[in-house]
Homo-oligomer: 290 residues x 2
């Protein structure tokens, strides 16, 4: 009798604190504001399945570039730009529900404080990610920039004869590895380097556990939205350790051939992946033959 | 005809800015304060030959632990503790000449500011070195400490669930390598890490050049006081790349056997080594057979 297949689910898979909070605020809005038109500025989190569920109860995303209709407007977990927040606050016909993740809010405050204090502010992140667009908007464009790799560090910082004052932070879902690499490169610069490790513990913990699982298992499944940056990063990290790593959004994406002969299958999921999506995947795996 | 021996002297060998300044102040004191008793608190720099020269013009070191005689007191380049400075300033019979290296003074200010602001202040340095004794005296003992290696980082910092606020700095003559190693270890701690690269550019430049020379030469001579921490560090760094590295204080310490068959000899010297000591060594080497 063949040994049954083992499925290892990461303790850290799925919703983080900030996403849970944002989804709860959105789920509770129809009851809290009966009769109001309720919208989220862009998808509330980067998970199409959750966004669809919310749409069914009347909470629909509106484009960031369009002025929202009168009613309740929910600011999503990634936050928005300083300018947009200001504009929304000027409108008496809007009720704002701020679901910005408190860790993202803290990072926005760091950018504002450091830029105002004259530091050269360096944000490690994806320039097109909404969280990063929000972060950078809190700094003075003269001294605030986003970089994606060590090579993006301005050469002038290394060549400067005057001591520099640099403040470093990261998109909350960045990889700790990249953060360390860039900070280490900046350490040789004369002057002051102020490192704010704004990567949230949920993210770094999820990454560490996925890396560990990837080494223990024959195959890895990473569940999450294709538009979710932290899910994509989780997939890439896992794939480095376990080439048989697959990124799926739902059970529909699963291919039984992947699991043929695999004895141990590891599962993790991005910060915006709801528990029910993870449960469905585990159920389908449990029903399949090893 | 054998090719003549090549002697490569590091551009960065010898007196740094702070030492030059301190020795100039000491040399000028007898003329500036005629008839006064002039003393330095401890040897003005860590070089016995320079200290002896100054003694000949009447500038003599007194023990740090003894209250100096009335007259002119020169505070040496390494600086002194906050308490001692306060006590000296209370004495109307003393004229103070502060030869503390401005880079050391800046590091003292950083310790004071960061400790007062509630940071956990970590100083990389030798606990017994006078500069370090001075630095730590500017912080609150509750939150200021000296560490010599990565292993000395308190484990509580890594285990803390609350984000930490750490300020890191180094004795101005520490190795950049050790600084990077400790800072990199601290980067994984959640919260804020404020790195002040207080290693002076003269030190880091001298170290880089010595390492480069050690790789190019058959033999290395490092000239400087046996009590000079930065000279000892220079010697150790060089010896890692070139086992035939020798630490000498003066020409008297040279042994001709070291140079037998050596074609290229590299020379560097600590921050407290005067030019004339370097010149004597070069002269003696030039006169010897390859």
């Amino acid at each position: 009798m063949p040994k049954p297949r083992q499925i290892k689910i990461a303790d850290t898979a799925g919703f983080c604190f900030g996403v849970k909070r944002a989804v709860n605020l959105a789920n509770g809005a129809p009851e809290k504001f009966p009769g109001s038109q309720i919208s989220t500025l862009g998808p509330i989190i980067h998970n199409p399945q959750v966004v669809n569920q919310l749409a069914e109860i009347g909470v629909k995303p509106v484009e960031l570039s369009h002025a929202p209709e009168p009613g309740v407007v929910i600011i999503r977990s990634h936050g928005i730009t300083k300018k947009l927040l200001y504009e929304l606050k000027q409108r008496p016909d809007l009720t704002l529900v701020d679901a910005t993740c408190p860790f993202v809010r803290r990072a926005q405050e760091i950018v504002a404080e450091m830029s105002a204090a004259g530091y050269q502010v360096i944000i490690i992140g994806e320039p097109d990610h909404p969280e990063v667009a929000g972060l950078i908007s809190y700094g003075d464009p003269q001294n605030t920039q986003v970089i994606t790799s060590r090579n993006d560090i301005p050469a002038t910082l290394f060549n400067s004869r005057r001591p520099s004052r640099i403040a470093l932070l990261a998109q909350t879902t960045q990889s700790q590895q990249l953060y360390n690499e860039i900070a280490t490169a900046l350490l040789t610069i004369k002057g002051e380097l102020r490192c704010f490790n704004t990567i949230c513990t949920a993210t770094s913990g999820r990454q560490s556990e996925a890396l560990k699982l990837a080494q223990e298992c024959d195959c890895m499944l990473i569940i999450g939205g294709r538009n979710s940056a932290n899910t994509n990063r989780l997939y890439e990290l896992s794939k480095e350790k376990q080439p048989d790593t697959y990124h799926i959004e739902t059970v529909e994406d699963m291919n039984n051939e992947w699991f043929s002969g695999k004895r141990t299958i590891g599962i993790s999921a991005g910060a915006s992946t709801p528990q029910w999506l993870i449960d469905e995947v585990v159920k389908k795996l449990g029903n399949s033959e090893p």
